[in-house]
């Protein structure tokens, strides 16, 4: 029997977007990551179930699922729904743009919904232990519709921007607007909830568990005060099936379908025009070239070409530089206005500067630029093998680029730190420690990617985001940061004088860099 055309096409998109990693180590890392998430989720579910009740467990689970599906949809949207990698393959075929757009949208929903439903296992388990069979059944049947609605809502908003893709002066500005939109929606929603629930006015002095319990109860009660959210929450937490609940369910389905319809319309209406623009060779602008006799400047120039080769890479570099200062600005503003709960307010602690420095370090390293520098070369990667490029210089120029990005982000964050009145001369040493750790991290993270680059990609986000080398690079880079941070906090905990502890850690960082450089030189040769 002939398969439905739309179904066939959607299947092709799914199989091409969500392929299993080729190498065994990547598969193992992925499995470990999934098991780890499941385990952690089970522990949290158990804590919520043990310290609270099943209603709050379902509410917590709903909030978690919505957040997860939102993050996953954000993560995958630029790679799939709003990319044009299929254009050259399908444009000449007798296939309507609406059918192509439908397949893209449906396939974009597949993984977020599937993965979120897999992660329901611990919650369903706890509900069954509690004999809450109806609630468990409702979760299985109705949650896909709710999270589908959330994912569709985000795709709809992004599709409205995508519809006017041709109006953007550059692809970087288009991608940046997407990222800002993705961030603003949850920030506005969470801020509204936090303000409405009065969480900021409460003093949290009864420890972490009680504070978490209080926050969850307040959020649950606030949700109950908003009629439309209350209807949805009630739908999941009650053990009854009434006409009202069925009506809510039907409304959810109709809204999801309407959003899908308009999203598909938004993508397909300018599909040809936008795809042409994306594939337009004449848009290429010449890059300034600084060829000199200095080897380093030529190798660094080459790295800049790799970044400039895709708008997506340029945007990532920009985000990588801005992420840490933005987070620092938010944190410092919250602290300045005393808006953080007591248990999160670390300014009262004498070691706030150390907490702040390591927080900035974490955000400086959180971009996946340093973990995939070879994969990003894509179809140009062969040049590394067939031209007389010095592998040492290539490697270190990659490290220099990612370290420079990190250090600029660190400098901006410390500038904010100073503006908010926290600066002392001793912090220069902390700045040096974190800069050193950024260099250590960037020295280690490209090692795996250097040996196993993922160069066969059409869409640049595949090289940067959907690349399992990102995960593996963390295994290479994070341990050393964690060990040094642990030693630093350990010294403070042992009441070693703050300045002395900082000097000791700085020495350790310098020694680590020297050792790493020596070791890497041998490995690279």
């Amino acid at each position: 029997m002939k398969e439905n055309l739309q179904f066939q096409l959607t299947k092709f998109f799914i199989s091409s977007f969500y392929k299993k990693p080729k190498q065994q180590i990547q598969q193992v890392v992925l499995i470990i990551a999934i098991i780890y998430v499941l385990f952690q989720l089970t522990v949290i579910n158990f804590l919520v179930y043990y310290f609270m009740d099943s209603q709050l467990l379902i509410f917590y689970n709903l909030a978690f699922s919505i957040l997860l599906v939102y993050i996953l949809t954000c993560y995958l949207s630029t790679t799939q729904a709003f990319a044009f990698s299929e254009f050259k393959m399908l444009a000449s075929l007798p296939l309507s743009y609406r059918k192509i757009s439908t397949a893209k949208v449906v396939s974009s929903l597949f993984v977020p919904i599937f993965l979120t439903m897999i992660l329901q296992l611990p919650t369903i388990g706890f509900l069954l232990i509690d004999f809450k069979f109806i609630e468990a059944l409702k979760l299985i049947i109705f949650l896909p519709v709710l999270i589908g609605l959330i994912a569709m809502f985000l795709l709809f908003v992004l599709s409205c921007i995508h519809r006017f893709y041709a109006k953007f002066k550059s692809r970087v500005s288009y991608l940046l607007l997407n990222v800002v939109t993705m961030l603003l929606i949850p920030i506005i929603f969470i801020a509204y909830f936090v303000i409405e629930s009065g969480l900021l006015n409460h003093t949290y002095k009864d420890g972490f568990i009680n504070a978490a319990k209080y926050i969850l109860i307040q959020l649950f009660e606030t949700a109950s005060l908003m009629p439309w959210i209350d209807s949805i929450v009630e739908f999941f937490v009650s053990n009854k099936v009434s006409l009202h609940l069925i009506l809510v369910y039907v409304v959810l389905i109709i809204t999801t379908l309407l959003l899908s319809y308009f999203t598909i319309e938004n993508i397909s209406v300018n599909y040809f025009k936008n795809a042409l623009l994306e594939n337009n060779k004449s848009q290429w602008k010449g890059s300034r070239v600084y060829i000199s006799k200095n080897k380093w400047s030529n190798y660094l120039q080459r790295e800049i070409w790799v970044i400039q080769s895709e708008a997506y890479f340029k945007m990532q570099v920009l985000l990588g530089v801005l992420l840490a200062p933005i987070i620092s600005a938010i944190l410092l503003t919250l602290l300045h206005f005393d808006a953080l709960p007591d248990f999160l307010n670390v300014t009262k602690d004498e070691t706030f500067d150390i907490y702040f420095s390591y927080l900035v370090l974490f955000f400086c390293c959180m971009n996946n630029v340093s973990g995939t520098p070879y994969s990003r070369e894509g179809k140009y990667h062969y040049l590394l093998k067939c031209t007389p490029l010095d592998s040492n210089l290539v490697y270190f120029s990659k490290v220099i680029i990612s370290s420079t990005m990190g250090i600029i982000a660190l400098l901006l964050s410390f500038l904010l730190f100073a503006i908010f009145g926290f600066w002392e001369v001793e912090h220069l040493l902390l700045f040096m420690i974190i800069s050193g750790l950024i260099i250590c991290y960037n020295l280690l993270t490209p090692v795996y990617d250097m040996r196993n680059p993922l160069t066969e990609w059409e869409n640049p986000s595949v090289a940067a985001k959907s690349n399992t080398n990102v995960l593996i690079s963390l295994i290479y880079g994070l341990p050393i940061l964690l060990i040094i941070a642990a030693i630093h906090f350990g010294l403070i905990w042992l009441n070693v004088q703050s300045l002395l502890a900082t000097v000791i850690v700085l020495l350790m960082v310098v020694i680590t860099i020297v050792l790493l450089l020596n070791r890497l030189k041998k490995v690279l040769i």
């Binding site: 092709f12 392929k19 050259k88 075929l93 040809f272 004449s282």
Partner: protein, 231 residues
């Protein structure tokens, strides 16, 4: 004479550079047209415009009396094989061809199996396309094209990457396809092969067709290569 493909005064620019400066080209049913030109002459641009992969500023492009406003009916008039065949990597060649047959509303038939054997793709046709070599991708596309059997097959450098055996098969199949009422347009740099296969040749230079005639009229005493060099 009714032309199957009719292009008149086709113009196209990239930024400020005009690539096509009024291309006129007519192809009759049963022709094998070799589209010849230097690198950057605009061959691929013309083929991309015909196949709906590129827009154009002005002119007329019609196949079987239909223009691109006819949408899918227009696209069902041809099958296009680009110079770089780009297909979902995880899908098998067989699944992809079945999908294309579904798209062109072609019923299951034994032609597919026949062409798979002729192109010696029995062992790889059900493997993921990501595992195919450049030549195998072209073979797969040729199998799809001949199985679908559309009014026109349009190809951009179809002989690139084909092994000698496949080139022979390609020539035979093209001739048999045309004998059954098909029409072929293909761009190529290989002038000697174009001379042997084509019934008609069009030379594109400076954004215009400077020569378009039957091969027997063009190559009386000279080879196509020397005509091309003189043009």
């Amino acid at each position: 004479m009714i032309h199957l493909l009719n292009i008149s005064n086709l113009k196209k620019s990239y930024s400020e550079k005009q690539v096509l400066k009024g291309v006129n080209l007519n192809v009759k049913k049963g022709e094998i047209l070799g589209f010849v030109g230097a690198n950057g002459a605009g061959k691929t641009t013309t083929l991309n415009i015909i196949t709906g992969m590129l827009d154009y500023e002005s002119g007329v492009v019609e196949i079987n009396g239909l223009n691109q406003t006819a949408g899918l009916d227009y696209k069902k008039q041809y099958f296009f094989i680009p110079d770089t065949v780009n297909v979902f990597k995880n899908v098998s060649g067989l699944d992809w061809i079945h999908f294309l047959m579904n798209l062109y509303e072609i019923e299951e038939n034994n032609k597919l199996e026949e062409y798979v054997q002729v192109f010696q793709m029995q062992e790889s046709i059900d493997k993921p396309i990501g595992t195919y070599s450049y030549g195998m991708l072209h073979k797969m596309s040729l199998i799809a094209a001949f199985t679908i059997n559309p009014p026109i097959i349009i190809m951009d450098e179809p002989l690139n990457g084909l092994d000698p055996n496949a080139v022979v098969v390609f020539k035979d199949l093209i001739k048999s396809y045309v004998d059954q009422g098909g029409t072929v347009i293909f761009s190529t740099h290989l002038l000697d092969i174009a001379e042997k296969i084509c019934t008609t040749v069009a030379i594109l230079k400076g954004g215009k067709i400077i020569l378009h005639d039957e091969i027997k009229n063009i190559t009386g005493s000279k080879s196509l290569e020397s005509i091309f060099m003189e043009a």
